[in-house]
């Protein structure tokens, strides 16, 4: 129904003609796919020792290392901080450049920044080795006979994550341990504190920067700018809106001598766009209502 006669024709054509284009990457696809499949197929996961073992052999990173000793953990955390600093600065850079929106030359740079941010977001989970606060084995034991339910929580490696190792002191006498442990459910969990810290820091700094910029736009900007020059410039912009792609080159060509002026022009253009959007959404209610 959706792709009947004509559309199908149009749709298939590039697929057929672009033979290498369509086939080449399709063969590549399973390679990045493999880890996902493994992780999806991990059955039931945490409870079953077999599944954990299988998972562990597939996991090239953290779990093949021995448990890090404390000082190593410390140094790792230090490295985490460097990682934390990098995306932070990158994101601020992104923000600044983004604020100046516009000229073609900046576009690729901004995209690069975005890639950098994305990349650095991906780095921490790969680097963050399990420091002691990043793993836990949590056993939940339900009420049993006259013993109330209890939660046990320890930093042990994945292979030791079972009731016998974690539940200490054992609340039942020796012959009951097996029955008690059958009831308990032990889960091995990992997290990355570095990722959390980095993400919260990035997020808060972007929000802070946006707030500052908003305050600047609303309070300081109208004061330092002469009202007549402002409207005149806006008017010019409006005229060039119609054939923007043609006019853009000429518009920014002779007048934009210094970087500052270009930035100024780009900012004005951006402001005008936002104003237009605001009119569409909030005043005319043409969209998104």
């Amino acid at each position: 129904m959706r792709e009947g006669g004509g559309t199908r024709d149009g749709g298939r054509w590039p697929a057929l003609s672009g033979g290498p284009e369509a086939r080449g990457p399709a063969q590549e696809a399973p390679r990045p796919g493999a880890p996902v499949w493994l992780w999806k197929s991990r059955p039931g996961g945490e409870g079953s020792a077999f599944a954990d073992q299988a998972w562990k052999t597939q996991d090239p990173g953290p779990s093949s290392h021995p448990l890090p000793v404390p000082e190593q953990g410390g140094s790792l955390r230090g490295r985490g901080c460097c990682v934390a600093a990098r995306p932070f600065s990158a994101s601020v850079f992104l923000f600044q450049v983004g604020g100046l929106a516009g000229p073609e030359s900046l576009r690729s740079m901004k995209l690069l920044c975005l890639v950098a941010v994305v990349g650095s977001l991906l780095v921490p989970p790969a680097q963050a080795n399990k420091s002691s606060e990043d793993i836990r084995c949590k056993c939940i034991c339900p009420p049993y006979r006259n013993i109330s339910g209890h939660i046990y929580n320890q930093n042990v490696s994945q292979k030791d994550c079972n009731c016998l190792h974690v539940v200490e002191p054992m609340p039942v006498p020796g012959h009951d341990v097996e029955a008690y442990c059958l009831l308990c459910e032990c889960k091995y969990e990992e997290r990355s504190t570095t990722t959390i810290k980095v993400i919260i820091v990035i997020y808060l700094s972007v929000v802070g920067a946006l707030l500052l910029y908003m305050a600047f736009l609303m309070l300081v900007d109208p004061l330092i700018r002469k009202p007549d020059a402002y409207t005149e410039r806006l008017h010019n912009e409006e005229e060039s809106e119609d054939a923007r792609s043609v006019a853009a080159a000429t518009f920014s060509g002779p007048r934009a001598n210094t970087v500052l002026e270009r930035v100024e022009g780009a900012q004005q253009r951006w402001k005008l766009q936002v104003q237009e959007q605001r009119k569409t959404v909030f005043d005319r209610h043409k969209m998104l209502s």
Binding site: G4, P25, R136, I140, H150, I196, I199, L210, V274, Q277
Partner: protein, 818 residues
């Protein structure tokens, strides 16, 4: 090539002959003078057929600009801007696809020339996969950021982790040994605001303090979100799916998928979710992913210059968005296919699949919830279901359909009010009021105070021996030595009854608040609140059925399966079915929804109950109104969206729909060689049409092609700047050959390169059913109507939409964006 030309020549001769010999009806209509005109024009065509080199034939469609046949023509080098579109305009899929094929052919033919060209063609072939990979990476990373930040900010309303400020409640108590079986989330590191401010953790004073702080944070998050949206990116509000559907169907909304929209949507989505409003992050995540797709497509000329190709990337991006929103990669691909995409060839299917995979992989490696899953409410059941349970499942489906129909009506009525009355002038105030009401009403009830995702998780989770919430407060017979993995059905305890009361109140609260929340000017998704409503209803029904089976296990329906001590009813499963039914009722999705829910649970055996409930809810919902919430919003806003699902059954003809109507002034047309630049500029200024048919002459009305207004404006402007001797009185020539002009006249301006020489035409007696089908399947923007081979009028996509609105007894003026 030679034979082709011969064929063409023969064709022209034949047609020429037939016209001249069998022209009796022509005479009736036009008189002999016109026939003379035909003769000359046909001669013209014959000449064309002789001179045009084969390659030109392939380029005639779509204003291709790199024609190598007119070396002398200055304007045949590409004019910047020709072939692009204005804001709020519809794209021409046919033209875009032709442009892409032409580009592809050019690259392929050059491939053999040098190693560099070979590399370029390889890069071109790979760029599709590269751009979806980048999109997947970015949307996965952003989803991780949104998840973690939203969790942290949601918990910020309750208190703060003193040992490390960046932890949310659960992470704060992660390594703590002080948690107890009953109160799992209490640990000394986590301080509620009352503890910090007035120093006491219990008692009425601390309750009030916590209440005040909860409202304070909710209001400040909501205010921050709406002011950021208002100041920086107004397009970032709403769920975005109706707009993305419209964009994918071929509409231009500049800035809707831009950098600022992306940044503000990501930031404010976290704030909106954290403010406790009755909204979810799933729909906006699709928008975020589409923004990523759009931004990355600018890196590759193949996608940045072609609107149709860009939409393929956007289809893949929306799949990645759902993939990370629900942790359901396959569901995401199906969602893209079923709900958002308009044009979905197989190649896009594979790319969507790959993008969904990459995004899910990235999100998994970030592991935002610490449970090695992509979503908070991942559950796993292995209990079987029994045949008699289909009855309550279908009941839940009916409830979901009713809820969907009610929600769509109520929400559309409210949004229309916002659109048309002065109440819509105060978006900030509205958000603040809604947030305040939500916060005040939500805090006293523990089920509404929770983050909605956590509520869904709690409702989905079945009561095992390890659970200690009040929802699992069943009366146990104390000979618990024979505890097995799944507990038998038990009588409900006091906790369950009070929980049911609270859930009923929560249900009413959610239903009312969601109606008023969806559409306010912050990023707001619909999936999570709908699922929560369904999950609450489902859980209540589940507990009711469970108790019924326990107390009346001798009824014949229960007799076979529910003996004393057997575990036959799983209330969590009912919650899940209810969630799917309600979501289905609102969005009217079927296949993708079942797949999404089944990926959430990882239980293949529940597909049949889910299908039964979703199908029932769709039937019930369709009985009250055929469109889902997204189509309803598209119609409310008047976006030019030609739905492929709707059927057109009226018997009107193309002549009834086309412009100009009988009373209108005649169609604004250009003639191919006797108009001046001034004439054309006047026509552009006097009319507001977006394109003009080009005809041979006013007398013959024979069609030559179609020129777009934007292309004309740009071409004339650039000619005035770059081409010497172009003045207002220069002739504009669309024909192959310039007419012989007096010696002193200025040099003619050749604009053949911007002319679309293969516009679609239908005759005036074509039934509208066929015209609508052509528009849908080919994605046309306009179509010319001819009568006896003469140009009569034009039908645009918006004319068709207006006509469809008229036949459905709606206001045709509601289709906006002319």
């Amino acid at each position: 090539m030679e034979s082709e030309q011969l064929f063409h020549r023969g064709y022209y001769r034949n047609s020429y002959n037939s016209i001249t010999s069998a022209s009796s009806d022509e005479e009736l209509l036009d008189g002999a003078g016109v026939i003379m005109d035909f003769q000359t024009s046909e001669d013209d065509n014959l000449l064309d057929g002789d001179t045009v080199v084969g390659t030109h034939y392939t380029m005639t469609n779509g204003g291709s600009i790199s024609s190598s046949t007119h070396l002398l023509d200055l304007l045949d080098e590409p004019i910047p801007g020709v072939g692009t579109y204005d804001d709020f305009h519809t794209i021409d899929w046919v033209r875009e696809r032709c442009k892409d094929r032409e580009r592809h052919r050019r690259i392929n033919s050059k491939k053999k020339e040098s190693a560099w060209e070979m590399t370029k063609s390889l890069y071109d072939a790979w760029s599709g996969w590269l751009v979806v990979t980048l999109t997947g990476l970015a949307s996965g990373a952003l989803a991780g950021l949104i998840d973690i930040a939203a969790d942290w900010m949601t918990d910020l309303k309750e208190g703060i982790c003193l040992s490390a400020l960046w932890y949310n409640h659960e992470q704060c108590c992660w390594g703590s040994n002080e948690t107890t079986f009953e109160e799992r989330d209490k640990c000394p590191q986590w301080k509620t605001w009352a503890e910090l401010i007035i120093g006491q953790a219990e008692g009425p004073g601390s309750y009030i303090m916590n209440y005040i702080m909860y409202i304070f944070w909710a209001l400040s998050f909501a205010f921050l979100a709406v002011s950021l949206v208002k100041v920086f990116a107004p397009y970032a509000c709403g769920s975005g799916i109706p707009e993305i559907k419209t964009i994918l169907s071929g509409f231009i909304i500049r800035g809707y998928l831009g950098k600022w929209t992306l940044m503000i949507k990501t930031i404010t989505l976290v704030l909106a979710v954290a403010s406790g409003l009755s909204l979810g992050k799933e729909g906006p995540l699709v928008h975020v992913a589409c923004c990523c797709g759009n931004i990355f497509s600018y890196l590759f000329p193949k996608y940045s210059t072609n609107e149709a190709k860009k939409r393929e990337v956007l289809s893949a991006a929306s799949a990645a968005g759902v993939s990370v929103a629900f942790g359901a990669p396959i569901g995401g691909v199906l969602f893209s296919l079923e709900e958002v995409s308009y044009y979905f060839p197989l190649k896009t299917l594979w790319r969507s699949f790959f993008a969904a995979l990459v995004a899910a992989f990235v999100l998994r490696s970030i592991n935002p919830f610490g449970n090695s899953r992509l979503v908070l409410f991942y559950v796993e059941y292995h209990t079987p279901w029994y045949l008699f349970e289909l009855f309550p499942f279908i009941l839940l489906g009916v409830f979901g359909g009713l809820w969907g129909a009610f929600f769509i009506r109520a929400n559309i009525a409210w949004c229309r009010r916002r659109k048309s009355t002065t109440f819509g002038k105060y978006p900030v105030l509205e958000v603040i009021v809604v947030a305040a009401v939500t916060a005040v009403a939500a805090f006293p009830n523990p089920y509404t105070r929770l983050n909605t995702s956590e509520l869904i998780k709690e409702l989905f989770t079945d009561c095992g021996p390890l659970e200690s919430s009040s929802l699992c407060d069943y009366r146990n017979d104390m000979n618990a030595s024979k505890i097995v993995d799944d507990l038998p059905d038990r009588p409900a305890g006091l906790g369950v009854y009070s929980a049911i009361w609270q859930l009923c109140l929560a249900l009413i609260f959610k239903i009312i608040m969601t109606v008023f929340t969806f559409g306010i000017k912050v990023p707001s998704g619909l999936f999570i609140p709908s699922m929560a409503i369904g999950a609450i209803a489902g859980r209540i029904v589940g507990i009711a059925v469970e108790q019924l089976a326990y107390y009346h296990h001798d009824w014949f329906i229960f007799k076979e399966w529910c003996e004393v001590g057997a575990d036959c009813i799983t209330p969590g499963l009912y919650a899940m079915v209810g969630a799917a039914a309600c979501l289905g009722g609102v969005t009217r999705m079927t296949v993708s929804l079942v797949v999404i829910v089944f990926e959430l649970t990882g239980g293949l055996e529940y597909i049949v109950p889910l299908m039964a409930a979703v199908m029932t809810s769709k039937w019930v919902g369709d009985a009250f109104g055929r469109e889902g919430i997204y189509e309803a919003h598209i119609r409310l806003n008047g976006y030019p969206f030609l739905d492929a699902k709707e059927e057109f059954t009226h018997t009107t003809l193309a002549a009834d729909v086309m412009r100009p109507r009988r009373s209108d002034p005649p169609l604004a047309v250009l003639t191919q060689d006797n108009m001046t630049v001034d004439d054309i500029e006047n026509m552009i200024n006097e009319t507001s049409y977006n394109g003009f048919p080009v005809i041979m002459s006013k007398e013959s009305q024979r069609l030559v092609g179609f020129a777009l207004r934007r292309d004309l404006t740009i071409a004339i402007e650039s000619a005035r700047k770059k081409q010497e001797g172009t003045v207002g009185s220069s002739r504009v020539c669309f024909a192959q050959h310039t007419p012989s002009l007096p010696a002193e006249s200025p040099r003619p301006l050749k604009l053949r390169s911007i002319l679309d020489m293969s516009p679609f035409t239908v005759t005036d007696h074509t039934p509208m059913e066929i015209v609508v089908d052509i528009f849908r399947k080919l994605g046309l923007r306009q179509c010319l109507v001819t009568h006896n081979g003469r140009l009569l009028g034009i039908i645009t996509k918006k004319d068709i939409l207006r006509h469809m609105a008229q036949t459905a007894n709606q206001d045709p003026a509601s289709i906006m964006f002319n």
